[in-house]
Point group: C2
Chain length 358, copies 2
């Protein structure tokens, strides 16, 4: 059953996928413009080229039995080009949905999954009208290529919106209404080639400076909320005829109601805890899915807290190593730039406890 | 704290050490004569050379901050040569002890750890005398380089020993008395650079054709027996001023008494379950020790059974993949020769249960 798996993107997610693949005797080829990337250190080979270089994509397809990716901004054209040569999982359609906040929200609503209210903003006039509809409040975002809080403007009642459209670069934007929420959770789910689905327990996430800081298991949510999150993931995965792991972020209201925030058609930072607290990690689950193996059990044997090591946090590794129940996972990056994800730690906090029952 | 760790030996143990090292941002260089070895697929570099090639050993020392090994038959002369250049853990003394069954048993007895009775056999006359002392029964073994049941002859009362000394090659031998035992266990223990010690729970081992078949946690032993195994490991590690992970195999009598069988100064097949059932695996524990990091917690969160995949067992991987609670770990070997270790699987069987209390 040995296969070679192509991975577009050479960051830490590709690195962890490469490790998981190796344990199942799969070989990996990374496509990534940066030489000696984190993923390539653990992969069998790296093709050093741009993500949209068709010659390189063809070379990748030639070398591999199946191709996947580790980030959601893989050029859709490249993914579709690849689909003509070899199976590509998750499907390019998932990239299209995830890359545009407007398409994404419309798609989620189409699956019966609530989101914030939103308006497309393609001009200053659109923005003024949208703000008026939302009582002057909302978050203005670029429709494409925003992540970790970049490319966003917040409006509160009374704020001036003059020139805001041009300030965000005159590109297609979306205004989203504010959401009243008590906490943020995410669900990591997987769908196999046979259509079977596995959902990990929801993690409760805390962000700092727009970057994930911690994911805690169990989330402090009602059992019904956890079930709703699983149902939403199931509908969404089926609708996309999805294969692989997906991350879905939700806001949770005081009443336990869910509002979907965004989806990431890939393994997800808020699922890193699975490598410490589950027998089958999200990385192995993804590799199993794209390689056509049955999915493994997503059950969690332990409670835990995952914390990201961002930038200079890497200097605390010696302290983390003194904590006896902490699994450290570093990404092999040499330069700790501010905001750069250098690694993560997961502390097991005890045997599995249940989420709050309703 | 980035370091480069040299690993002598490129098999599956080196491979799993390389993965564990990568997660702590350590780079690895493998010294191994076989190109494209299992370990090198996950390591940063391989030096293709014989284990006793001093030029290659010097190159390894030059490239690394610390050197370790994945098998106990590393030439002692090479290890001592390396010790003149860079720290080598575990110490060469541990290799000397482990490579000679006579030295090993004498050393264990010197630590107050019981073993089978034994006699050195350096001639046919020695053999005849030794057999007479043991009532005609015993196991004749080569003192050096025997493993997985190779290089052994069994005598029962009445068996002829004529020519036996020459048959085993005329090399130094040892005759060991038979042991009455109910089960076999092993303890995987680690000692850090600071002298701290961590012992994993004893595994109960079943062998087939002289090769480890399964390791089961918890072992069906009295609590006192588990404590005795830990005490034995502690005395032995301290006496060797050991740094790294060691595997110690014991026979357990009906009364729970322990008889040490052998030691392996390296990560051990009967400790593979730790990657599935502990937050810190034996591989990470070894890397932590040799890199001078504090040891992690060796506590086990789950019960489990590890089973080796030997030779054609590799063809059952698709079946194993359908078992939802099984962690599969394959070694990237292409040719499934009989008796060759191709991978292992660990099934989590539930939350941690206790060993039998006394």
């Amino acid at each position: 059953m040995t296969k070679t798996i192509g991975i577009i993107g050479g960051g830490q997610l590709g690195r962890m996928l490469a490790i998981a693949a190796s344990r199942l005797n799969f070989r990996t080829v990374i496509l990534e413009p940066q030489p000696d990337s984190p993923a390539s250190q653990l992969a069998n080979r790296q093709i050093v080229a741009a993500y949209d270089d068709e010659e390189a994509l063809a070379e990748l397809a030639e070398a591999c039995d199946v191709v996947t990716y580790e980030f959601e901004n893989v050029p859709v054209a490249g993914a579709k080009f690849l689909e003509g040569l070899k199976p590509v999982y998750p499907p390019a359609r998932a990239l299209e949905v995830a890359q545009d906040r407007l398409t994404e929200k419309a798609f989620l609503n189409g699956c019966g999954i609530p989101t914030a209210k939103f308006h497309a903003v393609d001009s200053q006039a659109d923005l003024d009208a949208a703000l008026a509809d939302f009582g002057g409040a909302g978050v203005l975002k670029t429709r494409r290529l925003g992540y970790d809080g970049k490319g966003q403007m917040v409006f509160r009642p009374g704020d001036s919106a003059t020139g805001a459209y041009d300030k965000l670069g005159g590109v297609p934007l979306i205004l989203e209404s504010f959401i009243a929420f008590e906490r943020e959770i995410s669900v990591i789910a997987a769908r196999g080639l046979d259509g079977s689905i596995e959902c990990y327990d929801p993690a409760e996430n805390v962000h700092r400076n727009g970057i994930l800081h911690t994911s805690t298991l169990p989330a402090e949510i009602y059992e019904g909320t956890a079930a709703d999150a699983t149902t939403a993931a199931t509908r969404l995965l089926d609708k996309l005829d999805y294969v692989g792991v997906i991350g879905i972020e939700f806001f949770v209201g005081a009443d336990g109601a869910l509002i979907a925030n965004e989806i990431a058609p890939r393994v997800h930072n808020s699922g890193h805890w699975t490598e410490a607290a589950c027998v089958i990690s999200q990385f192995e689950q993804h590799i199993r899915a794209v390689a056509g193996l049955p999915l493994g059990n997503s059950a969690r044997h332990s409670d835990c807290v995952m914390q990201n090591l961002i930038g200079d946090d890497i200097n605390d590794v010696a302290d983390w190593a003194r904590e006896p129940d902490v699994l450290i996972h570093l990404y092999g990056k040499t330069e700790p730039r501010p905001g750069r994800k250098m690694g993560h730690v997961t502390r097991l906090t005890g045997p599995r406890s249940e989420t709050q029952s309703e």
